[in-house]
């Protein structure tokens, strides 16, 4: 089964861990071509929200719709359309860059895997280091490789948890360009970040999160002011 969608919608999504409410009554819609940043202090629920959208976590209440599908109805076919890059980079340090990409390309059932691997190595600007083990890479190189690992199967929905962490200015520029290009190709991009300055040029909207809720939704131009109002301190 092949599925596709151009919109995701979260309706009154909550996630509780015992008595603790990690996420409470969150509703949000994201359209194809849009880049949405989840911003907020530690413990605001950003990573939990991303984990629920990625289908790795089940909401205690509420629903996530991927077009006309849910995680339960889409299952493996839906996962084929999701790309996830966590705070940890999800690469095997003992394998080379090429072996990592090849492994995930096979796992994600990518057609013409070898060509996609070469393309991904080019996009990560790691062609000359393709056969070096990842443990010998700098944080920036790993981050670029991890992003291409997450995108190896051309996902429709791209989920990134703190993608700017540890990147220097040049690498952050490359990442911003890549995210804009993904949105330009019709992807839905949702990312959580603390790096407010680095996220500015790339986002279309910001969902400002506090205590497991979306405190405010703001557009690119006025999200900093909205953050100050919602969180109670300026950026």
């Amino acid at each position: 089964m092949t599925i596709d969608f151009d919109r995701i919608e979260l309706s009154s999504v909550s996630r509780h861990y015992g008595r603790r409410r990690a996420l409470h009554d969150v509703s949000l819609a994201c359209e194809a071509g849009e880049v949405i940043a989840l911003v907020g202090p530690n413990g605001a629920g950003k990573s939990t929200l991303l984990a629920i959208v990625s289908t790795l976590l089940t909401p205690t209440a509420g629903q996530v719709h991927y077009g006309t599908y849910t995680a339960a109805s889409g299952r493996a076919a839906l996962r084929r359309r999701l790309g996830w890059l966590g705070h940890e980079l999800q690469l095997y340090p003992e394998l080379t860059a090429r072996e990592n990409l090849r492994f995930f390309a096979t796992l994600m059932d990518v057609a013409d895997g070898e060509a996609r691997v070469n393309e991904a190595l080019r996009a990560a600007r790691l062609e000359s280091r393709a056969d070096d083990v990842v443990s010998s890479f700098s944080r920036g190189m790993r981050q670029r490789l991890a992003l291409e690992r997450a995108l190896i199967h051309n996902p429709r929905l791209v989920l990134l948890d703190e993608p700017f962490t540890g990147l220097d200015g040049a690498s952050a520029d490359v990442l911003r360009e890549r995210l804009r290009a993904l949105a330009g190709h019709g992807c839905l991009v949702l990312f959580a970040t603390h790096e407010f300055g680095l996220a500015d040029d790339v986002l279309d909207r910001a969902a400002i999160m506090r205590d497991g809720r979306i405190a405010a939704l703001a557009s690119a131009g006025d999200w900093r002011a909205a953050y100050g109002d919602a969180i109670g301190r300026g950026l």
Binding site: T55, L57, R79, G86, Q90, L107, D109
Partner: protein, 225 residues
């Protein structure tokens, strides 16, 4: 897709193991240490306690297997790659099967060294019926690792996973260990008691079928949250 995913995960684990030798080296070292310690501890008046060799062989397999189980999933935890595996568009039990095959490969290599060492140190007729012994070891190891792989995956995010794994695993796999010990001891009798060994082997195969079915059935719901 199921078997290709399982094979891809298995091949990845083998490649990493060949390159790092981390799990294999610690598993083998630990298994051999257990046997050597028992070999010194259980000698009475120049003779060994009857059937001790069979028990020691299976204790070494269980202890070193637990070590291998913990290490294999620790690798997936610290790189957070388990999430990436679970997001693959394959049936999630295929991931389980791939990890299980990797763990079995490590334990089988350890057993290839353990068996001759036990036979040598305990001066037993352990290799009198090599095919029967191999069948007992394979079926016992599959049963032990089937449960262990499930528990190790389930506990990968638990803070006290190192303690919880043996606490959960040993009570569940006691029937496998007992059947393995009794079957192996039957083979060491002079002459080897083949019907008894086959009885225990049949029991082990039944355990394998039950444990594998339960593990494949419960892996997806257990890993979703």
């Amino acid at each position: 897709m199921f078997f290709r995913t399982a094979w891809t995960v298995f091949r990845k684990d083998v490649t990493i193991e060949i390159r790092s030798r981390e799990t294999l080296a610690t598993t083998i070292f630990f298994a051999l240490s257990v046997v050597v310690v028992f070999a010194f501890a259980l000698v009475r008046d120049g003779r060994l306690v009857t059937d001790a060799a069979a028990g020691i062989l299976w204790i070494a397999i269980a202890f070193s297997g637990t070590l291998a189980l913990g290490r294999t999933f620790e690798r997936e935890r610290y790189t957070d790659t388990l999430r990436a595996l679970l997001l693959a568009p394959a049936d999630r039990p295929a991931i389980y099967v791939g990890k299980l095959l990797g763990i079995l490969a490590v334990i089988f290599v350890a057993e290839c060294l353990l068996v001759p060492l036990v036979a040598l140190l305990f001066d037993t007729a352990l290799l009198a019926r090599p095919f029967h012994l191999a069948a007992l070891l394979v079926s016992g190891t599959v049963g032990f690792a089937a449960v262990g792989t499930l528990f190790a995956a389930m506990l990968v995010r638990a803070q006290s996973r190192d303690v919880l794994l043996p606490v959960l695993l040993y009570p569940m796999t006691i029937p496998v260990i007992i059947a393995g010990v009794r079957g192996t001891a039957a083979l060491m009798q002079p002459p080897p008691d083949e019907p008894m060994a086959i009885f225990w082997l049949t029991l082990l195969t039944s355990f394998d079928a039950v444990f594998l079915t339960l593990a494949l059935w419960t892996f997806e719901p257990l890993m979703t949250d």
